[in-house]
Point group: C2
Chain length 297, copies 2
Amino acid sequence: MQPDWIAADWGTSNLRVYAMSAQGRVLAEAVSEDGMGRLVPEQFEPALLRLIGAWLGEGVLPIYACGMVGARQGWVEARYRTVPCPPLDVGALTRVPVQDKRLRVFIAPGLSQAKPADVMRGEETQIAGALAQGGGDGVYCLPGTHSKWAHVSAGEVVSFQTFMTGEMFALLAKQSVLRHGLAGAEGEVPEAFDAAVSEALSRPERLAARLFTLRAEGLLEGLGAAAARSRLSGLLIGAELAAAKPYWLGQPVTLIGSAGLSAAYARALAAQGVSAKLLDVASCTLAGLSTLIAPRP
Amino acid sequence: MQPDWIAADWGTSNLRVYAMSAQGRVLAEAVSEDGMGRLVPEQFEPALLRLIGAWLGEGVLPIYACGMVGARQGWVEARYRTVPCPPLDVGALTRVPVQDKRLRVFIAPGLSQAKPADVMRGEETQIAGALAQGGGDGVYCLPGTHSKWAHVSAGEVVSFQTFMTGEMFALLAKQSVLRHGLAGAEGEVPEAFDAAVSEALSRPERLAARLFTLRAEGLLEGLGAAAARSRLSGLLIGAELAAAKPYWLGQPVTLIGSAGLSAAYARALAAQGVSAKLLDVASCTLAGLSTLIAPRP
């Protein structure tokens, strides 16, 4: 196996690498927990070599990385590019100095927005990949720990907004008093999810009052764990949709996320009469990084 | 020192006991970390004796306890009383079976509400104490980990609502991505707090979008830790006020809480033209438990 280049999706928690052919085919892949969050700068090159060492030959192999690896606390800072701008720019990659002469490493910078202040790292590559796959202008939603909504026009990210929905869900479900009522939840309760989305969207100012009712209904009415979890998910996604309304109102939406989470967002949007197209994260990331491998001097 | 009775404020994290005279004077007090959360039923009596052992004489000493000690996972379950009802009822105490013949232990039950489902344990005693101190009918707000708003009419709690504001603040400030920008915050930035309260109240549907801007402004504009923390506090208290508006709109409010937190709520309410009276938690708890010591057959 002789890859032509390496794609690296290097986030806070994980490093995921793909051995790629010049035609964009995945020849092999590997993953480790050497996320940016647990590495100091000197440890990035060894962490990379641990995963791709077996793929290296005699020659020089280019590596294109995106994500938190380019943060200020990462390997080398890849300064944010400011919107409006295309999500990726082959001329704006940050070259990383390395010891091993067989490596030529580039980091794709994230995007920043001045007002309201916002940043992304990694999602710009997914958006670029969606565009490269014919996604076109419109509204992109990337649900996750920190969900992003982005408006793309004339091939440029015009504006975007981050929501801490996934992180809030994890904190409330696993560490708050609500955990008692959600423990051991199995499966989804779609009606509970739908009702909560609708409630959060129609009365967003009541969100703060709705969360504790999950606990109280568990104590007083025996609300089940699965229903409680679906309702928490619906309340938080509904609150996100309430705030992101200027993005999706009357617009088709492209969702780039894990299958389960994207399905939940699509269901919530469908209830508002909005249709959504679902794209896979990994294939968008690879398609995005593939746009960078044009030969350069 | 010979107390006539013992007052016990027994919450999830702490046990706080007061040696009381028949006239309601505090003769001595003690505290331990033997909260309900770390005890199984057999451990409650020893935990209590560790704190009050030195106060016991020959005779029988009555102990009146409130808080999570009466939860299902507590010492003995003190079943919720359902609103509307007076916050405390001398006839509805739960007598706890004990080994030590010198103890006679009573737990004051909490309150429940059917719709919207809600519960409180401990706050009912504080409200009773406020009423005993001449508080009268009106709106009571008890800010804390789980803030409570209660409407009292004709001496009865008519309705109440719980908000997870304090717990959300702690989770977001200490465990979410926002912790990076809040670490080491010292002091308050009142203008940041005020602006955030106003923002959350005027555009409550935008809350989910405002949280991450604290992180982004930290990265892009050098937003300071103290300002970020004050803004997070303002956003969450503002979101609570938005949802609790039916309670406080056009009504004077009595706040029962720690000095710092009550001052923050009073400031937020004042900006909405609402005046607030501040009462101390411990003195309300003691005044509430004192209403229970009428001699009984």
